[in-house]
Each structure stands twice: as structure tokens, then as C-alpha cells.
């Protein structure tokens, strides 16, 4: 057992923290108000290699592994949830699918510019009738010579409004359904037939683009099939597992920031002549949440270590679901507590905790609702005992 970070990972954390504090923190309120993470921020993140943090060096990545990626997400999550979400959708699910299942040509052509931040990725799975029930997608891809023709659409696609590359899931054989009948495609958004239909007006992570995409006779060359025809669901589920782990890491950062804010205001705000820190209900609440955050930290980095040491079997999928589910709930609890300790300041848009409160709520919903995570965890547990459960 060794619970220390390597010198390289410690250096990476210093690099990300400095970037987040100097380049992102001053803009965080404006990112929320103006509904945009500046392209400049993404460009700079790319320039210093962070958008390829976990990808191999031969494809323009930093090669810092999943642990490095979790460090990036934790540190960004600590400062600005919109920026973390945008980066997470880009690296963690969009580009990740290409990293996991792309062939060398696809990686050279697509992963390299994505890792360098020259292009931005999105992940196109969810449809209006296929949310938790992802296997229920209707977007259709029909083979036509050397191409596939895509028709349909996607909703709630993070980065969808401005991404250059979208990995899209489409039905290639309706008779086979999710197992064998669904294929992943790499789509360039400047191709004819690709349309951004609308941008959502969200309660939080307002700096991110959440778009509805429409495909009308969108022609995709066969060489852009990601993985094997019919095995798209497997590719996407593997990407989602990675995304769930790193979303847990972003939540860890958000929870940590909330705890720090709660401690600051508990030391600063006085009621009835004493600082709130002297009130037992505040002490208890801080003790509880600090414990949960430590448990979350251990979980997240243990699972990252599993990925970095090649342990990505069935148990990984279950643990990644735990990272996402527990992380999002710990972050929500930490932020709720911190808001309460702020008093009136906590419910005004003048303080970052108000934004954190709006931002945090989506983590219990997207990338698989926490209900779906519980289904994943429970089915893994019961499978060990020979019980197959259905969602």
C-alpha cells in the first residue's frame, strides 16, 4: 500500500492549481453570467498539455494517466464547475471514446488535435426518449457504399454547440438492439447535415453549452466507424465509466472548495456575540462533511489507481458508479452546508457559493442519473451471487 502521489503528479497538481487560480477563478462569475467558458481558456489549457492529460504522448497527450486526469478535474472542480464540465465532456467522454477504441489512423487524425486542444469534442449518446434507458436510442445509421447516412438527433449534449468532433451513437441494426445493433461514429460538426438545433437554458453550469443536435442525411465515411460495427454500446459504456470516475473527482474539488468556504465563514460570521465556529451544530456539520470528503478522496484516487494499473474489469465499472453517485451527493451536501453558513450572503449571486449551489445539482443527474448508478452498483453486487436484476 502506498497512498502518496508521485512527484510528477504533485507537480501536475501545482501546475493545474496555479492555472485554475490565476486563469479561471477571476473569470468564474462571468463564465456563469455570460454563459460561456472562453475559448481562450480552452486554448491555454491545450497549450500546456492539460487537455491531453491522460492520453499517450505519441498522440499529443501528457501521459499522466487517470490519476493525472482526476487531479486535473479535482482542481478545476474546486474553482469553476462550468470549466470542469466542459473539459470533462471533451477529454473524459468525447475524446476518451477515440482513445479507448479508435484505430491508429483515427487517433492520429482526431485524438492528437483533441489532446492538444486544437479541436474540442463532445459525446453524443442521450436522446429525448433515451436518457437513463440509453439502449433505447433511435438515431439511425444506414450503410451506403463507403459511407453511413445518419438521421436523427441528440439532446443535452455538453459542448454540443461549439464542438468540432462529436462521437455519436446510432442504430445500425434495429433487429439486434443495443447488443450488436448500435455503432459509434466519429462525426465532424462541419459536415453537411449536422445542425445545432437549440441551446438549453439551465439552472447551473451556465458556462457550458448544452445543445440539441439534429442529423439530416449526415454522411459519415466508413473509416469513421469507432470500434467495430455493432459494438458501439460497449465503446460508449467504457467511456462513461471513465467519465463517472472523473466526475467524482470534479465533485471532490467542488466539495473541498465548499468545505473551505464553510470554514472561512464559520470563523468570520458572528451571531449572538460569537463566531459560528463556536456553535455545536456548525461543528458537527463540518466534522461530518469533512469525513465524507476524505472518504470520497480515497475512493476516487483508489479507482484511478486501478485504471492506471490495468484493473478495469467488472469491479471497476461498479466503483466508477460509486465515485459519481457518492461524489455528486457529497458535493451537494457540502455546498448546502456552506450556503447555510454564509447566511444571507449565500443566497445572492454576489458570492460563489450561490453559483456552486446551482452548478452542483446536475452532477446527481447527468452522465447517468444517480438512480442508474445505483442500478449499476446493485446489479454488480447481485451478479456475484447469481442474481440477475433488470433496471
Amino acid at each position: 500500500m502506498d497512498f502518496t502521489f508521485s512527484p510528477e503528479h504533485q507537480a501536475l497538481r501545482r501546475l493545474v492549481r496555479e492555472f485554475a487560480e490565476t486563469e479561471v477563478a477571476p473569470l468564474a462569475a462571468e463564465i456563469d453570467r455570460k454563459h460561456q467558458v472562453p475559448h481562450e481558456t480552452l486554448r491555454k489549457l491545450g497549450e500546456i498539455g492539460l487537455l491531453g492529460v491522460c492520453f499517450p504522448q505519441e498522440y499529443g497527450g501528457m501521459g499522466a494517466g487517470e490519476t493525472g486526469y482526476c487531479i486535473l478535474m479535482e482542481e478545476l472542480g474546486r474553482i469553476c464547475t462550468s470549466t470542469a464540465t466542459c473539459v470533462g465532456a471533451h477529454i473524459g467522454i468525447g475524446a476518451m471514446a477515440i482513445h479507448l477504441d479508435g484505430n491508429p489512423d483515427q487517433k492520429r487524425k482526431y485524438l492528437t488535435p483533441l489532446a492538444r486542444g486544437e479541436k474540442i469534442a463532445a459525446f453524443g449518446l442521450t436522446e429525448s426518449n433515451a436518457g437513463s434507458d440509453a439502449a433505447n436510442i433511435r438515431t439511425r445509421a444506414v450503410r451506403e457504399g463507403d459511407s453511413w447516412i445518419l438521421d436523427g438527433g441528440k439532446v443535452f449534449i455538453t459542448n454540443g454547440g461549439f464542438a468540432d468532433i462529436v462521437t455519436v451513437m446510432a442504430v445500425t441494426d434495429p433487429a439486434l438492439g443495443a447488443r450488436g445493433g448500435v455503432t459509434a461514429f466519429i462525426v465532424e460538426t462541419n459536415w453537411p447535415g449536422f445542425k445545432v438545433a437549440r441551446e438549453e437554458d439551465k439552472m447551473g453550469i451556465r458556462g457550458t453549452s448544452t445543445a440539441e443536435l439534429v442529423f439530416e442525411e449526415l454522411r459519415v465515411p466508413h473509416e469513421n466507424v469507432l470500434g467495430k460495427v455493432g459494438e458501439g454500446f460497449v465503446t460508449f459504456m467504457k467511456s462513461l465509466d471513465m467519465g463517472r470516475l472523473t466526475l467524482g473527482a470534479a465533485c471532490l474539488g467542488g466539495a473541498q472548495a465548499a468545505l473551505e468556504a464553510a470554514i472561512y465563514w464559520a470563523r468570520t460570521r458572528k451571531q449572538f456575540g460569537v463566531e459560528l465556529a463556536h456553535k455545536q451544530s456548525v461543528q458537527w456539520a463540518i466534522a461530518n462533511i469533512a469525513t465524507e470528503i476524505e472518504a470520497l478522496r480515497s475512493l476516487v484516487y483508489r479507482v484511478a489507481w486501478m485504471v492506471d494499473t490495468g484493473q478495469t474489469g467488472q469491479e471497476f465499472s461498479q466503483l466508477a458508479a460509486m465515485c459519481k453517485m457518492y461524489g455528486s451527493e457529497v458535493a451537494s451536501r457540502a455546498i448546502d452546508l456552506a450556503l447555510q453558513i454564509h447566511g444571507g450572503l449565500g443566497i445572492t449571486r454576489d458570492y460563489p457559493i450561490e453559483r456552486a449551489f446551482r452548478d452542483a445539482r446536475i452532477a446527481e443527474i447527468f452522465e447517468g442519473t444517480n438512480e442508474v448508478q445505483r442500478i449499476v452498483i446493485a446489479s454488480n453486487i447481485f451478479r456475484e451471487y447469481g442474481v440477475r436484476i433488470r433496471p
Partner: protein, 382 residues
Amino acid sequence: MDFALSEEQRMFRDMFRNFAAKEVAPRADEIDHAEMLPKEMLRKAVDQGFLGATIPEDYYGAALDNVSYVLLLENLSAACASLAVTIAAHVSQVAMSVLDFGTDTQKEEWLPAMAGGEAIGAFALSEPDAGSDMLALETRARYEGDEAVLDGVKTWVTNGELAGLFLVFARGPQGVDAYLVPRDTPGLTVGYREPTLGLRSATFNTVYLEGCRVPQSYRLGRPGEGAAVAQRAVDRMAVALGAVGLGLAESSVDVAAQYATERVQFGVPIGQKQAIQNYVANAHAETEALRYLVYRAAWLMDQGEDFSVDASLVKAFGARMARSVTNWMLQVLGGYGFMEDYPMARKYRDARVLGIIGGPTEIHAFRVAQAIFAAKDLQIAP
């Protein structure tokens, strides 16, 4: 025991529900985005008599009993919590303070104007360094002959943007005084409006008092009686905010349950899933528990009984339940719950604010504990 509403109360409830559904609900999202109640909506509320809800007929009020009044707030809140809070502050904090503590002249001067919506009431108690702690008030009232001169800064003044009449609390020579200060009084300036997380169309402002002179006859109650005026107002508002929380909770259950019958995943409406059933069942239980605490507190008020501890119970429990119910019901809507063009996100933001305004949950929980321990001869300090 009798848990039935009277025929009159039922009639009022249906009327409030219809008004909320027809006049308010269709515009609630737009109102939230605009962060301001439209003037014509307030006008309609005035025409219905809502601004004079519990003001007696002698003063041209609607003379509602308190149970009917919480039914009003509950039903308005189900459509638009900002409107309900605006009316609650006007009626519960200001108009009822005038009725309970005012002289005949004060009542005749202000209550008809408040019932008619010509003067909206605003409640100016909190200060930058004094929220729940009345002993820490720094606003001063200096007596000069027949006048009192007010100096200080008030924060989180509910209805600050709209008000014609401010109920201001200040430390005078004999303790805390309460003053009725018309908006146009020289020395009173309405300042910064808080950009709030929720209740975005209710207004909360900073109010500056700089050498603000009012006749002594504008004082509400005797010198030093201001703390009692404030406490009564806080108690009344606590019940009112419980009703606002109730409206948010019950309308959220309604929205989520409807969605769960329509949203199909894994081949069935999600209402068929046990997790969703549990969310809805628990939320409904919490809502009904809150309902009867709110109605009971209002009934105690109508009986003329002391309702101060019950008010705190309602406020602490109500804010917690509204938070918990809106949170779970938002989860039922999944991604749609997070979108501002559906009502759940607004209800969730509105509900969270209830844990802070009108005294945070902790202070109300303290007052409940204080009463429990006092019955066992243990005095506790906040």
C-alpha cells in the same frame, strides 16, 4: 378534533387556486426571468383583496381568518412563490403589526392604503451585523423634541423595491423602537437590491437611514416596545413562510408525479419504478406533515392563542421539507429538472432561500428547543 375546512374556507381555497392557476402560473417562468412582479399582476391581486387579506373590514380589508390566509399563500406559492412572499411580507410583517400595535390614527392612516395596494409594506429589521440577534441592532433612534431621528443601514428589506411604507426597527433611549416610515421621507434611501438565488421576483434591498426624521407619532407601540413588535412580526412571517414552503412542496409533487406518468424509460412510465414511487411517497408524507403544522399554527392564531413556538416549528420544518421535497421531485424530472424552461428548477431555487430568509432554520430550531427545555426548567442561550 376537526380537520375539515369550513365551507367558507373551502370556497376561498378554490377561488385562490383558480386565480393562481389562471392568472399566475402561466406567467410564473416569465416573471422569474424578468425578476420583477408585473404591475398588473399586483393590481389583480389587489382587486381580489389579497393585499388586505387579514386586514379587518373596518379598514377595507378582506377580513380573512388565518387559516384562509395560509390557504391563500399556499396556493399562490404553488404557482409563484415570489408573489406569495411579497404578499406575506406586506400582510404578515407590516399590516398586522400596524393592526396589533398601532394607534387608531395609525390604523386609519395606513391599513386602508395597504389593503388597497397604494402602500406596500416593507420590513426593515436585519442589519449587516445583526440578523437573528436583535440585541446587536446598530440603527439608532435619537429623540429630538417631537421627532425621532433615524440613522443606520438595513439589509434584506423584503419588498424594498416596491414599498410605500417601511417598518423600521432602531435602538432608542428605552430599547428597540419600531417606526412607520413612508418611502418619501427625506433621509430614507432604497439602495442595492440583492440578486437572489431564488424568489427572484420578490425584492430584497439595502435601505439607508441618514438623519431620517419622523414625528414621534409615527412610532409603532411604546418606546422600547419594538422588540415585541419585531418578534410578533417574525412569528407571523414564520407561519406565512411555512405556507409558502407548503405550496412549493405540493406543487412539486404534482409536477413530478405527472411527469412520472408520462416519461417512459425501460419500456414503462418511470412511475412504475420503485425508486420513483418511494421518492413520491416520501415527498407526499413530508408535504402532508407540513400542511397540518401550517394549518394548525394558523388555527392557533385564529383562537387567539400563543403561537410563537409553533411558528418556529413551522418555519424550521417547512424550510427543510420544501428543500427536501423540491430536491427529490427535481430528481424525478432528470435532466429536465435542471432546465429553466421547466418549473422545477425555479421551485428548487425558491425553496432553498426559505432556509435563510425570515430567520435561518437554526434560529427557529433553537427557539423550539428553548421551549422544550424551559418546560423542564433549563434555560438555554442561543
